[in-house]
């Protein structure tokens, strides 16, 4: 048995094993160590896979030794290896944070179950990314969704239950639509393998069911990725979930759904005449712009910082969709780069907000007044992430906006450049609201004693803040991989 050739399956199975083991031990520390080991191992495996893909191209793995179009295939290519690295990397950073964070937010006797759920969620997200089988994708989507409903419902605030229920309903509708779409495609093509499906759809003459499949998949996945106006579940879910969960989901869940959308659009439908029949590009463009402006405007009027940045996430999803709408290599590069950059930025932002929550007892704008004086380091971190959301040079956000603007110019759409910059100004406004409260107001009398959060919270948060800055300066990993993935999706050889 050669270890290297089984890496694709180990990527999913290693975090999966840690979940039942955590339940079996029924002990907080043991569960934490097991899931920590699982997630770190997953991160290591994803790096190895990324290197392997860069060396020798696509890796295909046949589960149960049943060959590809019949059995379930795990397929690692330029795009999935990048997303795998992102998801498992964020998981590996957030998990140590959980230990210090959930002590305050979740009943201690259920901690081992929390870790098991976290491991399952990670497994599901990695599975969606690595699988090359449409139905397998749906199953992993359900694993990650069901576990994320539980994780959100664990929030200390009672509203977490309602938020989780809302997400459950919307998520289930989304998943149902996805499985209807997959079912229709299966009826028409007789295959569940995504790559095979793409080939068979090319000479499809009867269009109606395939068009319906495309529509169902688009709506279903858009619900999952919170594309405006299907984002209603997101703000509450992020706002009331435990801090660590907010950070993990904000950084990974919607991003993996974007990955699924890219996979269906470009690997399955991309080469077909059917895809060109629908005005998908215009649709994406309109929804992306609406999301960028409406969600950013709503964010400006929020008083809870977690909700504020959750709305900002919806706006950022708009940028990601905007890149898809260009249907060009530069546009997709922008999408994929922003997928990574925004994940890192939002992940670190929610981790830092969790630290503020731990010290100040809440994250409403009224409560965090003067936080810049009592927690200067954490506040500085939040400002750095805010700059990345705006897209200031030197941060990750700048790189993605730069590529978006390049893609718009490539298409000769000057007005879009103007709109991208204008929506960034809205980001300036909502970030400024935090800066004003944090630096220009005096802290509340009862919070003068608040101190910087413990190192257990600070170190993971600052690792991601560091990544936010790093990806703004050195873009070889992010842009390099994204460009390779975009070329692969559009079938262009660079």
């Amino acid at each position: 048995m050669s270890f290297a050739e089984h890496l694709p399956v180990l990527q999913v199975v290693v975090p999966l094993v840690s979940a039942p083991l955590a339940v079996l031990f029924r002990d907080r520390l043991a569960a934490f160590l097991l899931v920590l080991a699982g997630s770190w191992a997953a991160f290591a495996i994803s790096i190895l896979l990324w290197l392997q893909v860069r060396e020798s191209g696509i890796i295909s793995y046949a589960i149960g030794s049943w060959p590809a179009p019949w059995g379930i295939e795990y397929r690692v290519d330029a795009l999935s290896s990048l997303v795998l690295m992102l998801v498992s990397g964020v998981g590996a950073v957030v998990l140590p944070y959980c230990r210090s964070s959930i002590v305050r937010e979740i009943r201690p006797d259920t901690h081992y179950l929390f870790y098991a759920m976290f491991a399952l969620c990670l497994t599901g997200l990695l599975g969606i990314t690595i699988t090359g089988d449409a139905f397998n994708l749906f199953v992993f989507l359900e694993i990650s969704s069901l576990s994320s409903y539980v994780l959100i419902a664990l929030g200390k605030d009672r509203r977490a239950l309602v938020a989780s229920y809302q997400y459950l309903i919307m998520g289930t509708i989304g998943a149902t639509f996805i499985v209807i779409g997959v079912g229709l495609l299966y009826v028409k093509t007789g295959t569940l393998n995504l790559a095979d499906m793409g080939v068979r759809l090319q000479d499809m003459t009867s269009h109606r069911p395939v068009l319906a499949a495309l529509a169902f998949l688009t709506v279903g996945i858009s619900l999952k990725l919170a594309l405006f106006p299907l984002h209603q579940w997101l703000p509450n879910a992020y706002a009331y979930a435990p801090s660590a969960v907010s950070a993990f989901l904000a950084a990974t869940a919607t991003k993996v759904s974007v990955y699924a959308l890219l996979r269906f659009y470009f690997s399955v439908f991309g080469e077909t005449a059917i895809f060109k029949q629908l005005p998908m590009e215009d649709l994406m463009l309109v929804l992306a712009l609406a999301g960028m402006f409406v969600a950013s405007t709503v964010a400006i009027f929020q008083n809870n910082l977690k909700r504020l940045f959750a709305y900002s996430s919806v706006a950022q999803i708009g940028y990601i969709a905007l890149g898809i709408s260009f249907d060009s290599v530069t546009g997709l590069t922008a999408t994929i780069v922003h997928l990574v950059n925004h994940a890192v930025t939002k992940g670190s932002l929610f981790l830092l907000l969790g630290a503020v929550m731990a010290s100040m007892g809440g994250v409403t704008l009224a409560r965090v007044q003067g936080v810049g004086r009592v927690m200067p380091v954490t506040t500085f971190g939040i400002v750095l992430c805010g700059l990345s959301l705006i897209g200031v040079p030197g941060t990750a956000g700048f790189v993605s906006k730069w590529y978006l603007i390049l893609a718009a110019l490539e298409k000769g759409q000057w007005w879009l450049v103007f709109l991208i910059v204008l929506s960034s100004l809205l980001a300036v406004v909502y970030v400024w609201r935090f800066v004003e409260a944090a630096y220009f107001r005096a802290p509340r009398a009862d919070l003068l004693q608040a101190r910087e959060a413990s190192l257990g919270l600070a170190i993971p948060a600052w690792i991601l803040v560091g990544a936010t800055i790093w990806f703004g300066v050195d873009t070889s990993v992010t842009v390099g991989s994204a460009a390779a993935a975009a070329n692969m999706l559009l079938g262009v050889t660079p």
Binding site: V17, V23, G64
Partner: protein, 139 residues
């Protein structure tokens, strides 16, 4: 309902047969309708039946919460274990062909253990759900 003679007698008579039927569904899953999921559901139904007649606390003495929770985990681990057995014997993950020198026997052997894992987990999960809901009292 502990005091109802008819229910108690019928329950005592039926439960062994329900369990037996579950085993039939479990082991006949290779050749006909059935398998681990259905068998696990039937076993859980038997225990839930028992709990309704003899009371939740009696049922929880027979199958304590920690046993139920562990079964959820053990079933999944058994499933993954079969996957790793395939790996260790030189095949891919979940490769049943290598589980025996005769590939067909290997397939049978693989699906046997997989279905057993499924049955254990389904049984555990359903019973856990029942316990959780049944425990919610007015207090």
């Amino acid at each position: 309902m502990r005091n109802d003679m008819v229910l108690r007698v019928v329950g005592k008579l039926l439960i062994p047969f329900i369990l037996m039927f579950a085993l039939y569904v479990q082991f006949h899953g290779d050749f006909g309708p059935g398998g681990g999921f259905q068998a696990g559901t039937i076993v859980a139904a038997a225990i839930i039946f028992y709990a309704i007649i003899y009371g939740l606390n009696t049922a929880r003495r027979v199958l304590p919460d920690w046993v139920v929770e562990s079964m959820i985990a053990i079933g999944v681990l058994l499933y993954i274990g079969v996957g790793f057995a395939g790996l260790l014997l030189g095949g891919n993950f979940l490769d049943y062909f290598v589980l025996d020198s005769d590939p067909v026997v290997g397939q049978h052997r693989g699906i046997f253990w997989i279905e057993l894992g499924v049955a254990i987990t389904v049984f555990g999960v359903l019973l856990k759900i029942f316990y959780l809901f049944a425990r919610r009292g007015p207090n």
